[in-house]
Amino acid sequence: MKIKLNDDQVEIARQAQRFIENECPMEYVREMFEDPRGFTDDSWQKMVEMGWTAMLLPEAYGGLDMDLMDLCVIFEAMGSSVTPGPLFSTVLLAAETVKVAGDETQKGRYLTGIAEGKLRGTLALSEPDGGADLGYVRMEARAEGDRFFLNGTKLFVPDAHTADFLIVAARSGEGDDTGGGISLFILDSGLEGISTSLLPTMDSTRKLCAVELKDVSVRQEDMLGKQGQGWDYLQRSLRRAQVGLCAESVGGAERCMKIATEYAKERVQFDQPIGAFQAVKHRCSQMFLEVESARSLLYWAAWTQDHGDSKDATLSSSAAKVYCAENFKNVACAAIQVLAGTGFTWEHDLHFFLKRAKANEVMMGDAVYHREEIARIMEEEE
């Protein structure tokens, strides 16, 4: 038993932290918050050079064959600065899904492209009437000859507007149960019939899009994995993406805690640093508790994805998703309260964290969804 970062991970974390400080300072975040594209090529290229797009990929495709935990320390660092850009969508949504579902040709093309930083992808899953239910897929993939025709709307697709390819979940069969009938298609984002529009979201540091598909014609060989097995593949990649999001939440929460604690030491009212008052002190203590306990759960969830069984992998990713996102939100709100007026200004950075925290709460399934997942599995168990 050894539950802490190993030396390599500590080093990765240090490098990531330094990278973020140098390349993605808060001024950059503020700029990208307003910028419709949401990241600069320069910043993306540097992340690629750091090897971040290749970490989880197999060596055969130019990857580094590392563990999810290794990548998580990077997402922690990015979370600590609400770093913008399509890393999450590319390496956790797109690459992981191709990894689990793609054939050799697809892997060769897409994974190699991602590892080299030449391709960016994303996953188009959620639909307007599904809410936070990840398994709600109604988009139709109508078979005609050796082609499928996709029709429908996908929402909350991260970074679709700058992605080179999209993985789209649609129903190629009968019925609408969650488990069966969903197939995945991997398409060029420039295909005819696809129109992508940026959603004006609260957390504009991570861009989300609406993607409409009108009679988009897809070849048989652009199906990703076996027909009707899409949900199985997705479950595996979504779990990993959820854990990545948790790492981001822990990093963000920790930053909020530090901001609040520093402020509490310096801000004087009633001739005392406000941190001497228990109302403030205990609020800061609670933040510390929420950050560190979330981190403990994150470690388990990240480790379990690579080394645990599929039941534990699902339970842990769902648990971490609920807990880390909620703690991030709580800590961000608490920090604003500690900073009071100052924390409520646009000028101060805290609001970017609050907005990211709110986004993380509902991205990749909200707490209600994941708790129901846990109840379902625990119920079966006994």
Binding site: S126, P128, D129, G130, G131, A132, D133, Y136, R138, L155, F156, L199, P200, T201, M202, D203, L208, A210, V268, Q269, F270, D271, Q272, I274, A276, F277, A279, V280, C333, I336, Q337, A340, G341, G343, F344, T345, W346, E347, L350, H351, L354, K355, K358, A359, V362, M363, D366, V368
Partner: protein
């Protein structure tokens, strides 16, 4: 015990409601609250609306006629306020300080001359006022005010900085708590002044808040001359005036917020009908039904408690620090309700206004962010809990504050 208004009062409510419906029909499109492009535009709209209220005889029903009021029972003012709070809070909000804090202070503590000069222009919508209390080093520790006012001849000369001043950028005048005597214990050296915002040396800088709006401002004063006849009360009474005259209006304000929030709950049910989860309207989901009901319950608590406070004051009861409950209730309930509405919306909660996918025109997204200020503005929750603990329950001050007092 009686939760009803009298028949006469109910008749007045009907009359006013009809007038309001028609007027709103004239000034805004549709039934939903208007939003404004800029704070200045918002301020102008509020002034214009106040003018209409005044001309129709609905401004300050309970004020003496000589100051522009109608000399009617306070209940009628309450009816006007609560109806507006439910139907068009956006036309009252920029005037909350003016009508809720400034005019009652002038009415209660001002000289006859001050009342005649300022009140009518407030009631008819000519003038908007703001309030300069907080300073960078006087936030929760409000008696730490350091803006200096030095008497020179027939003027005070003001130097200093105020912060968190709502709607200062549209204000014609301000009420200011300033230090006129630095040699006596902190709260005893404060005085209460009226200040012309157009006076030379006054500079206003808006603060952008996390919603992107600019509700609050900094005010910088550099050798600003304030005539001595703009002093309210005596020198050194500033603190007493600031805290003691406002209880009634604060209680009324709290109750009004309940009405606005109750309207919000109606809206929350509408959102729950519209938004779907797993293909079904959220309102059919037993888990979210619990949240809907809980939000309604807490908001009714707000309303009942607010009315109970007002009713006590209407009977001439002395308003006490118990009023801090009202502040805590509306701020924390408001935050919880906003969180709950965001939950209902699932991932749609991320979409702000300006998209075909926006729920309810993005109102809740804005409101969610705005709500994070509730527990900070007008005295943080921590300060309210100190007030209840110390002034209502009689618990001792903590050592550092006890030493100072």
């Amino acid at each position: 015990m009686d939760f009803r208004f009298t028949e006469e009062q109910e008749a007045f409510r009907q009359e006013f409601t009809s007038w309001l419906e028609q007027t709103l029909h004239e000034v805004r499109e549709g039934d939903t609250p208007r939003s404004f492009e800029s704070m200045v535009e918002w301020g102008e709209a509020a002034r214009d609306f106040q003018k209409r209220l005044f001309e129709a005889g609905y401004a300050a029903r309970h004020y003496p006629e000589e100051y522009g009021g109608q000399g009617r029972p306070t209940e009628e003012e309450l009816i006007v306020s609560e109806t507006m709070a439910a139907m068009c809070p956006e036309y009252r909000h920029p005037l909350v300080v003016t009508l809720g804090l400034v005019s009652p202070t002038i009415l209660t503590c001002g000289t006859e001359e001050q009342k005649k000069k300022y009140l009518p222009k407030i009631l008819d919508g000519t003038h908007v006022w703001c309030q300069g209390f907080s300073e960078p080093n006087a936030g929760s520790d409000i008696v730490n005010v350091s803006t200096r006012a030095v008497k020179k001849g027939d003027h005070f000369v003001l130097n200093g900085q105020k912060v968190w001043t709502s709607f200062a950028q549209m204000a014609d005048y301000a009420v200011m708590v300033v230090r006129t005597n630095p040699d006596v214990p902190k709260h005893k050296g404060l005085s209460y002044l009226l200040m012309d915002m157009k006076a030379p040396g006054v500079e206003v800088r808006p603060i952008i808040q996390i919603t992107g709006d600019q509700e609050f401002n900094e005010i910088f004063m550099d050798d600003v001359k304030v005539p001595i006849d703009m002093l309210v009360g005596e020198e050194g009474q500033g603190w007493m005036i600031a805290i003691t005259t406002l209880m009634f209006e604060r209680a009324m304000g709290d109750a009004m917020i309940a009405n606005t929030q109750l309207k919000g709950i109606e809206n929350m049910f509408a959102v729950a009908r519209e938004v779907k989860r797993s293909g079904r309207p959220v309102i059919e989901d037993p888990r979210f039904r619990q949240e809907l009901a809980q939000a309604w319950i807490e908001t009714m608590v707000l309303k009942c408690h607010g009315y109970r406070n007002i009713s006590q004051l209407l009977e001439g009861g002395v308003p006490g620090p118990e009023g801090s409950i009202g502040k805590l209730l509306w701020s924390e309930t408001g935050q919880r309700t906003n969180e709950a509405v965001m939950h209902l919306q699932g991932p749609l909660s991320q979409v702000m206004k300006g998209s075909p996918w926006s729920v309810d025109e993005g109102r809740w997204q804005h409101s969610f962010l705005r709500s994070k200020g509730y527990t900070i503005e007008a005295g943080t929750s921590e300060i309210q809990r100190n007030i209840i603990g110390e002034r209502v329950l009689g618990l001792p001050k903590d050592a550092s504050r006890a030493q100072r007092a």
